[in-house]
């Protein structure tokens, strides 16, 4: 890898688990020097080469972003620079959302997918499960996925004009919590084509995960984002 002088990665710090992402990024050893910015204003965002939108409450994060004058700049940012959304961040990156709050909620878009909020049910259905992730360091070692009131990918909307959608990880259907809200897809809920088993996907330089790599001690997902999505844009 060529030596790159500086990369500035922002973490949207409106509400939620932004400090956990900061700790994970600080642990990465990279050949390039990384600057981490907690983004609270449009000026903070303007310094960034890439952005992580953390877990939290998507309605709260969107409202605070609007009140801070960040919604417009964020939508512009998503059009040109790499963004990774975890959980609530994944909801904000989606093209459309099911189970939004009454009156709808604001999204940033960027990934051609529809996600359902709290897709597996309430907190009682929150779970941990091992995942196989394509393209990650030490692929034989599963990544522990922490799913907390997690969103679920319910549809992909590929289009020739958009970058292709690449599935980075699917959860084994047999590991999913059985809830009343889970209606079999095509009469068979173990169907490998079921979009609801997708827990990580990439489109262009954007990354979406419905789980929380920042709640583990495993920095491989953060390394993956920086290596696969961020550094190539600076080369």
């Amino acid at each position: 890898m060529a030596l790159i002088a500086n990369v500035t990665i922002g973490i949207l710090a409106m509400q939620g688990a932004f400090a956990e992402h900061q700790v994970m990024l600080q642990k990465l050893s990279l050949k390039s020097r990384m600057v981490i910015v907690l983004v609270r204003t449009p000026e903070d965002l303007a310094r960034c080469d890439a952005l992580i939108i953390p877990g939290g409450e998507s309605t709260t994060i969107a409202l605070l972003a609007r009140l801070a004058g960040l919604l417009g700049p964020l939508r512009e940012f998503v059009k040109s620079k790499p963004v990774w959304g975890t959980c609530a961040g994944a909801i904000l990156l989606a093209q459309s959302v099911e189970g939004a709050k009454k009156g709808g909620q604001e999204l940033l878009g960027g990934i051609s997918a529809t996600v359902a909020r709290n897709g597996w049910g309430s907190q009682i259905e929150s779970f941990e499960a091992p995942l196989e992730v394509e393209g990650m360091r030490d692929p034989e070692r599963p990544f522990q996925g922490v799913f907390i009131r997690a969103p679920v990918v319910v549809a992909l909307h590929p289009s020739p004009s958009d970058p292709p959608i690449q599935i980075v990880s699917r959860i084994s259907a047999s590991l999913l919590p059985r809830t009343q809200t889970l209606v079999p897809y095509d009469e068979d809920d173990t169907d490998p084509r079921d979009p609801r088993t997708i827990v990580a996907l990439r489109q262009g330089r954007h990354l979406l995960t419905s789980f929380h790599p920042e709640l583990t001690k495993d920095d491989r997902f953060h390394e993956y984002f920086v290596r696969e999505c961020v550094l190539p844009t600076l080369a």
């Binding site: 609270r40 939290g56 409202l63 189970g99 091992p130 599963p142 907390i148 919590p177």
Partner: protein, 334 residues
């Protein structure tokens, strides 16, 4: 910025199943596992997902609401969760009598009205109220001193539940005792229903100063200190190493203004609960939104000044004395 708890599991002692069941507590399976063909496991209700939800609430405001309409106002104002209860603490003080868990029907109406997590309170030690709330799919339970205690000696064995618990604490020892019982989230007790932040400040300052003290102690001193503050040694040691509580810590009890919220954040809290302070004020929607903004921008006095402008009447505050109506709630809990 405080160091986050980046350790999802293995902090608290493992769930006790079937043992020590002298009180006749029906032991609910704390985790349910499913397996794939090749033997991989997934599990529900781990300590990681319990404390993890609290981590997702950080930097947010959890608001007391008494009906679906207030819950919607709170959600629109940017609350990261709501606490469903029949009477806010100020009204519990005013009306007196025994305060209990709310009607499940009213809680379900609030759950149906909003998309954010819904919490509800149970009396200290009342594990059946907790079983009922778990059965209706509540997201978090507050084992709260604001309600009248049901047990004057024991708290709920919170490891026995899939639903996570938040508990109040006045000092480090109390916080670690609650975590040892399975609480995945701690808040200051403050003095609920007073609109007076002084007790919340006292409790947060105690916790922080005791953590600072412990963080420079050697092992022998930690053993003695654990005995002194009546805290489990392994949790005290972990706290000393992290230089913070091993779970998320919010402020609660008496917060009424955006400045109160920012004060508690600057004192090291991860987020805030606001009870009577919102819906007992002149313009609840506006005040709620201002407090939400204040928690995000707690270190920006210029912005705090703008946020604090023109919010209408704050709730009427009370001076905290032993003789005040409803008495001191913070002394409940053991």
């Amino acid at each position: 910025m405080s160091t986050p708890n980046s350790q999802p599991s293995g902090i608290a002692t493992p769930p006790i199943q079937g043992a020590g069941n002298s009180a006749g507590t029906p032991m609910l399976a704390p985790t349910r596992s499913t397996q794939t063909k090749d033997g991989a496991n997934s599990s529900l209700g781990t300590f990681g997902v319990k404390s993890g939800l609290a981590q997702m609430l950080k930097g947010g405001v959890i608001m007391d609401v008494v009906n679906a309409e207030q819950a919607r106002i709170a959600e629109e104002a940017g609350a990261c969760a709501v606490m469903a209860l029949e009477r806010v603490p100020a009204d519990i003080r005013a009306t007196g009598g025994v305060a209990r868990m709310s009607d499940p029907k009213m809680i379900k109406e609030i759950v149906d009205a909003v998309t954010i997590p819904v919490m509800a309170k149970v009396r200290i030690g009342h594990f059946v109220e907790a079983q009922i709330l778990q059965a209706i799919g509540i997201d978090y339970i507050d084992e709260s001193e604001v309600l009248t205690p049901a047990d004057d000696e024991h708290h709920i064995n919170k490891h026995a539940f899939k639903v996570p618990f938040v508990c109040g604490a006045r000092n480090l020892g109390e916080a670690l005792r609650r975590i040892s019982e399975g609480a995945a989230f701690i808040r200051t007790k403050g003095e609920a229903g007073t609109g007076n932040v002084v007790e919340a400040v006292r409790h947060q300052r105690s916790v922080m100063s005791e953590i600072r003290k412990a963080s420079v102690m050697n092992e022998e001193e930690l053993y003695a200190y654990a005995k002194d503050i009546q805290a489990p040694f392994h949790l005290l040691k972990e706290t000393a190493r992290l230089k913070r509580l091993p779970v998320v810590n919010f402020a609660a009890g008496g917060l009424a203004t955006p400045a109160d919220a920012a004060l508690m954040m600057q004192l090291g809290c991860d987020g805030v609960f606001v009870g009577s302070g919102i819906f007992h004020s002149g313009d609840p929607a506006k005040r709620a939104r201002a407090i939400v903004q204040a928690v995000t921008h707690y270190n920006n006095p210029k912005l705090l000044a703008e946020i604090s402008e023109d919010l209408g009447e704050a709730m009427v505050g009370l001076t905290i004395t032993d003789g005040m109506k409803g008495g001191r709630l913070a002394t409940r809990g053991w």
